[in-house]
Amino acid sequence: MSEQAENRIDRRFAKLRAEGRKALVTYIVAGDGGIENTVPLMHQLVASGSDLIELGVPFSDPMAEGPVIQKGHERALAHKASLRRCLEMVADFRRDDGDTPVILMGYANPIERMGGEAFAEAAQQAGVDGALTVDLPAEEAGPLSGLLAERNLRNIFLLTPTTSEERIRAITELASGFIYYVSLKGVTGAGNLDLDSVHENLGRIRQHTDLPLCVGFGIKDGASARAVSADGDGAVVGSVLVSAVGEAGDAAQARDRVAELVAEIRGELDR
């Protein structure tokens, strides 16, 4: 990792480490439940105890997602959500929240369409802190990583149970912000979480990097969040929140349900 000025992600993890707390990273799909309801939902996530927000950028072909988040993408696209709109949402969010890190999580093609440089520029302007592009592995990520780094934005990489030792070394060198460890072989929301494997792999990764390690995929509640973050620095929760938004009758109900879920997980993480 090159020497860069601190950004919100670094500050947030430094603060959590100082307090001896685990990070709660929450994922929602931008525009799911209505374009105008996303920013209030982001503020609700923070109010209920989220440390860092991953804003899902809707894509027509979300290959790595399980059925729950796929449906979230489809609903968001039906509301005409787009990468451009996501950036507007973050700018809007920043008017009332200057501290909570926001990461855009999505797929390569909307960024390709906008152009890497235009995207990096717009992301910085909007107050985005980093990007996680699921289908942009280390081999293909170079150009975008450079454009983000020039603007002090972080490029978040995934490591998985299938990542070789050699790749862990290469990717941790390229990574910044934090490492997102995918807890299982599968899509988001899958049910085959294996805690022993998480324990072992976080240990392997830890030998190569001091970056914070957050664990995601298959985290359903406070208990599983607490279990996976025991050896790491935090947990990522997505499908349960997207499911709650999908099932809610209206925006207020969605916020209430999400608030409840996030508060429960926060409580367990801080226990």
Binding site: Q70, S82, A108, F157, T162, V182
Partner: protein, 405 residues
């Protein structure tokens, strides 16, 4: 082309799977390890005489190769120009070129020791070809197929089931081939330890575009030798339909370094390129990233993949193999489109003049060949890849004619 430095086409892709700016490996991290293993295994077996002998044996004794190069005399007469030769991939076991690739990938699956294979399919030809080799090797087989395609290709769905495959209808997105590919990728990510993904076209993450091309290149190698034998020279032009582009790549590749051989890839023009309702990314798309590779895509201004339209399920795909994208940019292959109605006319023309029912996919190539032949002289030769037979399409054609079969 003439003032350009000659490119050695055999040297592509590079070892990261790039054809110029296209190709590559755009997948989530979970699959990289499996792709690395596949690439390593393929690089080794490609040079292994025993593996090649096993592949050649299967092509000869199971697929029924070589497929004939047939002079379509009455079709030639009808076009009124160059002689039209048909490379008869429709005569292969299972009725299309797809089996060349599945026989090859099945051998890879066997070497990998995995007990289960999965595939995506559009028209069902690749699904059938995969289910066929899985039955032969005793492998478990699941085929993902868009729910729309399940409806319009019911004979192939039943064939796959007879062969013992599980056919999984995909209800997400546009419910066609692209969504089937998304779902197959999700299956693979989940079951990567014991599952071999048999991709059916020259697209997807490296090394798939390369290995699918290599397995189908038997088409072009045979056509080259057969041309020399039948008319004593190389063809003046090659014509093949392009969806993902595996039959076209298979025919074209062994001729790419023969700069006098012109090549035409025919995309699905649907209702017409100017209507926007088509499946012709090379004719009217722009470069982007989907399904593991960078290539030409049909997408909107936000980078969302848009729905495609074609009478032929096998061409109904918003992307195309990355090598085609590159061949377009450097001008080695001309990409054109044939509309639904032109393809249907060609379907009828070939059926009535030669007694050969072509697949609706291949009918697009026949449609363009008829036009092209008329612009050439009778001493010239066009080789058209008749990539599949049309038995699976008779219900679609009957429905268009308003007939209940």
């Amino acid at each position: 082309m003439s003032d350009r430095k000659p490119v050695d086409f055999a040297a592509f892709p590079d070892n990261q799977g790039h054809f110029g700016p296209y190709g590559g490996r755009f997948v989530s991290e979970t699959l990289i390890d499996a792709l690395d293993h596949l690439q390593e295994m393929y690089a080794r077996l490609k040079e292994d005489p025993e593996f090649q002998a096993a592949f050649d044996y299967d092509l000869a004794h199971y697929v029924g190769r070589p497929s004939p190069l047939y002079l379509a005399e009455r079709l030639t007469e009808r076009a009124g120009g160059a002689r039209i030769w048909l490379k008869r991939e429709d005569l292969n076991h299972t009725g299309a070129h797809k089996v060349n690739n599945t026989v090859g990938q099945a051998l890879l699956a066997k070497h990998s020791g995995k007990r289960r294979v999965i595939a995506e399919t559009g028209a069902g030809q690749h699904g059938v070809a995969t289910a066929t080799v899985a039955a032969r090797l005793g492998l478990e087989c699941a085929v993902y197929m868009g729910a729309e395609d399940v409806k319009r290709q019911s004979p192939n769905v039943y064939r796959m089931k007879l062969l013992g495959a599980e056919v999984i209808p995909v209800e997400s997105g546009s419910k066609t081939l692209k969504d089937a590919m998304n779902e197959a990728m999700r299956d693979w990510v989940t079951n990567v330890d014991d599952t071999f993904y048999i991709i059916g076209t020259v697209a997807g993450p490296h090394p798939y575009p390369q290995l699918v091309r290599d397995f189908n290149s038997v088409i072009g190698r045979e056509a080259r030798a057969q041309s020399l034998e039948e008319f004593g020279q190389l063809p003046d032009a090659l014509v093949a339909c392009v969806g993902g582009g595996s039959n076209a790549m298979g025919l074209f590749h062994p001729f790419l370094n023969d700069s006098d051989v012109k090549m035409y890839g025919v995309e699905a023009g649907g209702d017409g390129i100017d209507t926007g309702r088509h499946a012709a990314p090379l004719s009217a798309g722009i470069p982007g990233v989907l399904h593991g590779n960078r290539t030409y895509l049909m997408e909107d201004e936000d980078g969302q993949i848009i729905e495609t339209h074609s009478v032929s399920a096998g061409l109904d795909y918003p992307g195309v193999g990355p090598e085609h994208a590159w061949l377009k940019d450097i001008g080695r292959v001309q990409y054109v489109a044939a509309n639904d109605s032109e393809a249907l006319d060609a379907f009828r023309a070939l059926t009535r003049t030669e007694g050969i029912l072509p697949a609706l996919e291949s009918s697009h190539a026949v449609a363009y060949a008829l036009k092209l032949a008329a612009t050439l002289s009778p001493e010239q030769n066009i080789v058209v890849n008749l990539s599949g037979r049309g038995d699976k399409d008779i219900f679609t054609v009957a429905a268009i004619d308003g007939i209940e079969v």
